[in-house]
C-alpha cells in the first residue's frame, strides 16, 4: 500500500486549499501561476519579501493573501 502523503489546509484569498506538507510559498505561487512581478503577498497578515518566498514553509491554517492592482478611482 502506498504511503499517504500528508497534507495541510491553508486559506488563499479567502478560499481553502489543501497542499502537500513541506510546501513553501514559492512552490505554491508557481503552482498557481501567479506573475510575481505584479503582486504582493501576505502570510498571516505579514507582508512577505518576494525574494524570500522559498524560505517560507507553509503550515496548517496559514492565511495567504495575494493582491494586485485593478481599476479604481
Amino acid at each position: 500500500m502506498m504511503k499517504k502523503i500528508k497534507k495541510i489546509k491553508i486559506k488563499i484569498n479567502g478560499s481553502f486549499k489543501l497542499v502537500k506538507y513541506n510546501t513553501n510559498l514559492s512552490d505554491l505561487l508557481k503552482t498557481l501561476k501567479i506573475p510575481l512581478k505584479k503582486v504582493a503577498i501576505e502570510l498571516n497578515q505579514e507582508i512577505i519579501d518576494k525574494k524570500k518566498l522559498n524560505k517560507q514553509l507553509l503550515r496548517n491554517n496559514d492565511k495567504i493573501e495575494i493582491v494586485h492592482f485593478i481599476g479604481g478611482g
Partner: protein
C-alpha cells in the same frame, strides 16, 4: 504670452506632464479604460489594490493594458474605512513594485462616502514617517487641510462633492482659502460631473483635478476624456492669464469717440 510649457506640475519632487489625473474604475472593459486614459492625456492614474483571482487566470490584468512604466500608477485606498486597513493596503501596494507615491482615502460613511478625517490624519502621519509620499483625499476644510500638511502630506486633495455624485464644486470659497494657505499641490478629487467643473477648479487656482466617474460613466467616455483634457488646460491657462475684475455695471467694448 502665458506659456504652459514652463508651467510645471510637480508632486513629491516629480514633474508630471498633465494636470489631469484619472481613475481607472467603473469602465465597461479594460480596453475601454485604457483608451479613455490615453485620450485624457493623463500622466497619473489611480488604481485599487484587490485580491488576485486565483481560479480564473485568464482574466485581464490592468498592467497588461496600462503600462506602469509609461503612466504613473497611484495606488489608492478606496474602500478602506479605518486607518489600519488603509495602511495595510498601501504597504501591500508598495510591495508590488516599489510604489511610494500613494493616494490615501479613508472613508467614514458608506452612503455619502465622505472622508473620515481623524483616521485620515492618523494614517497620513504614519505613512509619511514610513517614507511614503502621501496625496490625501480630504474634506474641503481649510483647518484639516493645514493639519494634513503639517502631518507630512505631499498633496492636498479636497472633494468637490461626494465621490461619483457629479455635482461639481460645492464650496468654492473653501477651496480658495485652502489655495491661499498652502503651497502644496492642491488637487480637486471627487464629485466632478462635466468638463466645465474641471475648468472651474483650475480657475480657482487648483494644481490639478482627479476624475473617474464623470468620464467612465459618460454616454461617450472617449469624448468626455478629451473634453476633460481640454478643460483642464483651458482652466489653467485662464487662471494664469489673470481674469478681469467683476463689476456690477456694464463697460462698453467699443469706443464712444467717433460715434455717428
Amino acid at each position: 504670452m502665458v506659456s504652459l510649457k514652463k508651467d510645471k506640475f510637480i508632486v513629491a519632487g516629480r514633474n508630471f506632464k498633465s494636470r489631469l489625473i484619472v481613475g481607472t474604475g467603473k469602465y465597461k472593459s479594460m480596453s475601454q479604460c485604457a483608451k479613455a486614459v490615453k485620450l485624457s492625456g493623463a500622466s497619473i492614474v489611480t488604481v485599487a489594490v484587490r485580491r488576485v483571482n486565483i481560479t480564473d487566470k485568464k482574466k485581464a490584468l490592468l498592467m497588461d493594458y496600462i503600462d506602469p512604466k509609461k503612466i504613473t500608477y497611484l495606488p489608492n485606498t478606496a474602500g478602506c474605512f479605518n486607518s489600519k486597513d488603509a495602511l495595510r493596503t498601501l504597504r501591500l501596494a508598495r510591495e508590488i513594485g516599489g510604489w511610494k507615491l500613494v493616494k490615501l482615502e479613508v472613508l467614514g460613511d458608506k452612503k455619502n462616502l465622505f472622508p473620515e478625517m481623524i483616521e485620515t490624519l492618523k494614517s497620513t502621519e504614519v505613512l509619511s514617517k514610513e517614507g511614503f509620499k502621501v496625496m490625501v483625499y480630504c474634506n474641503d476644510d481649510p483647518l484639516m487641510a493645514k493639519r494634513l500638511e503639517n502631518a507630512g502630506a505631499c498633496a492636498i486633495m479636497p472633494l468637490a462633492a461626494p465621490i461619483g455624485s457629479g455635482l461639481g464644486i460645492q464650496n468654492q470659497t473653501n477651496i480658495k482659502i485652502i489655495r491661499k494657505q498652502t503651497k502644496l499641490p492642491l488637487i480637486i478629487d471627487a464629485g466632478l460631473g462635466q468638463a466645465s467643473d474641471a475648468t472651474i477648479a483650475m480657475e480657482l487656482g487648483c494644481d490639478g483635478v482627479l476624475v473617474n466617474t464623470a468620464i467612465a460613466k459618460a454616454t461617450k467616455p472617449f469624448d468626455m476624456a478629451l473634453a476633460f483634457k481640454n478643460a483642464v488646460i483651458a482652466g489653467r491657462q485662464s487662471y494664469l492669464s489673470g481674469r478681469i475684475q467683476k463689476n456690477l455695471m456694464g463697460s462698453a467694448s467699443s469706443p464712444s469717440r467717433g460715434i455717428i
